[in-house]
C-alpha cells in the first residue's frame, strides 16, 4: 500500500464513523475541545478504526503516545494533524 492509497482510506474511515457530517469537516477542523464539530466518542472510534487500517497496511498506529497527548503538538489538534501523524507512522514503518 502506498501513502496516497492510505490517505484515501484515512478519509474513508472518517466518513464511515461520521456519516453525513463528514462532509462539513475540513482539514483545519479541531478534533478535540469545544470548537470541535465531532464528539469524543466519535474520535475514539476513528482512532480504533485507524488502528485496524494500520494493521491492514502492515504497521502499528500508536495514538496514545506522549506526542499524541501533548497539548502543543497533539495529533488530535486537527484533522490534518491526525492525518499527518498517521501517514508519518506509516512512512516510518516502511523506512
Amino acid at each position: 500500500m502506498d501513502s496516497k492509497s492510505l490517505e484515501e482510506l484515512f478519509f474513508q474511515v472518517l466518513s464511515s464513523v461520521l456519516g453525513s457530517s463528514r462532509g462539513t469537516l475540513g482539514l483545519e477542523d479541531q478534533l478535540m475541545g469545544g470548537e470541535s464539530p465531532i464528539d469524543s466518542f466519535s474520535l475514539v472510534e476513528i482512532c480504533v478504526q485507524l488502528e485496524d487500517l494500520a494493521v491492514e497496511a502492515g504497521f502499528e498506529f500508536d495514538w496514545t503516545s506522549d506526542s499524541a497527548m501533548s497539548h502543543s503538538r497533539s495529533i488530535f489538534h486537527s484533522v490534518e494533524s491526525l492525518q499527518t501523524e498517521f501517514l508519518r507512522q506509516f512512512l516510518e514503518s516502511i523506512g
Binding site: F41, C47, V48, V55
Partner: protein, 225 residues
C-alpha cells in the same frame, strides 16, 4: 476472551480459575506465569509499554475481548509515616497506574464490538479509612475515581466499568495481618463475616453477566460497607 491481570495467584488466580470452569476463554497477565495452565503473558502491569505490546498481540489474534478484570495488586500494610517512599511508589504504580495502563490499552479491543465489561479492584479500606493502609487505600481510592470517570467515557460503546471492593479475603495479600486485626475490620463490615475468594468470584460473575448491563460506575463492597 476475558483478560485477567494478577492471574498467577490470589484473587486474580481464583477469578481466572472460576471463569475457566464456567467455560470462558481466559488470558492471564502476571509477572510470573510459570505453572499456569491457561494462556498468559508474563508482564508487569506497571509497565505501560509492555502492556501495549500485549494489547497488540491480542488484537492480532483476532479473538474478541469481552472483559477486563484488573485484579493485579499489591498491599502495603504499614503506617504511612513508616512507609519508605519506594514502597509507596510501587503500591501506586501497580495498583493505580497498572489499572489505568491496562484499561487504556485493552479498552479499544472492546470498543470495536461495542461491548465490554471492565472490573477493577478496590478495597473496603477506602470507605473505612483503616490505619496502616493509607498508601494502599489511596491507590484504591484512585482506582475508584478513575473507574467512575472512565465509566462515563465508554458508556456509549456498551462498556461498563465497575469496582469490586472486598474486605479482608484469605489471600497472600493478608500475609502479615494478624487474625485480631482481620476480625476488627470484619466487625466494621455490614455483614460481619470474613468472605472467601469464591465470594468475590461470585460478584465478578454477577458483573460479567448480561443482566448487569445497567450497572456502571459503581463500587460493590463484598461484605458491605
Amino acid at each position: 476472551m476475558i483478560i485477567v491481570t494478577g492471574a498467577s495467584r490470589g484473587l486474580g488466580r481464583a477469578i481466572a480459575d472460576r471463569l475457566l470452569s464456567a467455560g470462558h476463554s481466559v488470558v492471564g497477565i502476571a509477572r510470573n506465569t510459570e505453572g499456569l495452565d491457561f494462556p498468559a503473558y508474563a508482564c508487569d502491569v506497571a509497565d505501560a509499554e509492555a502492556i501495549k505490546t500485549v494489547a497488540r498481540s491480542l488484537r492480532s489474534s483476532g479473538e474478541k475481548v469481552t472483559g477486563l478484570i484488573n485484579a493485579a495488586g499489591i498491599a502495603s500494610m504499614n503506617l504511612a509515616l513508616m512507609s519508605p517512599a519506594p514502597q509507596v511508589d510501587r503500591v501506586i504504580r501497580v495498583n493505580l497506574m497498572g489499572t489505568i495502563h491496562c484499561t487504556q490499552s485493552f479498552t479499544p479491543l472492546m470498543v470495536r464490538q461495542k461491548y465490554g465489561r471492565i472490573i477493577n479492584f478496590s478495597t473496603i479500606a477506602v470507605t473505612l479509612g483503616l490505619p496502616g493502609e493509607a498508601a494502599y487505600a489511596a491507590s484504591k481510592a484512585g482506582v475508584e475515581a478513575f473507574s467512575r470517570s472512565f465509566a462515563r467515557e465508554v458508556s456509549a460503546f456498551g462498556i461498563t466499568v465497575n469496582c469490586v471492593a472486598p474486605g479482608p479475603i484469605g489471600t497472600d495479600l493478608l500475609r502479615g495481618v494478624s487474625q485480631g486485626q482481620i476480625e476488627k475490620i470484619v466487625d466494621q463490615q455490614i455483614i460481619r463475616k470474613q468472605f472467601q475468594p469464591s465470594d468475590v468470584c461470585d460478584v465478578v460473575e454477577l458483573l460479567l453477566d448480561g443482566r448487569s448491563n445497567s450497572l456502571s460506575g459503581q463500587v460493590l463492597h463484598v461484605g458491605g460497607a
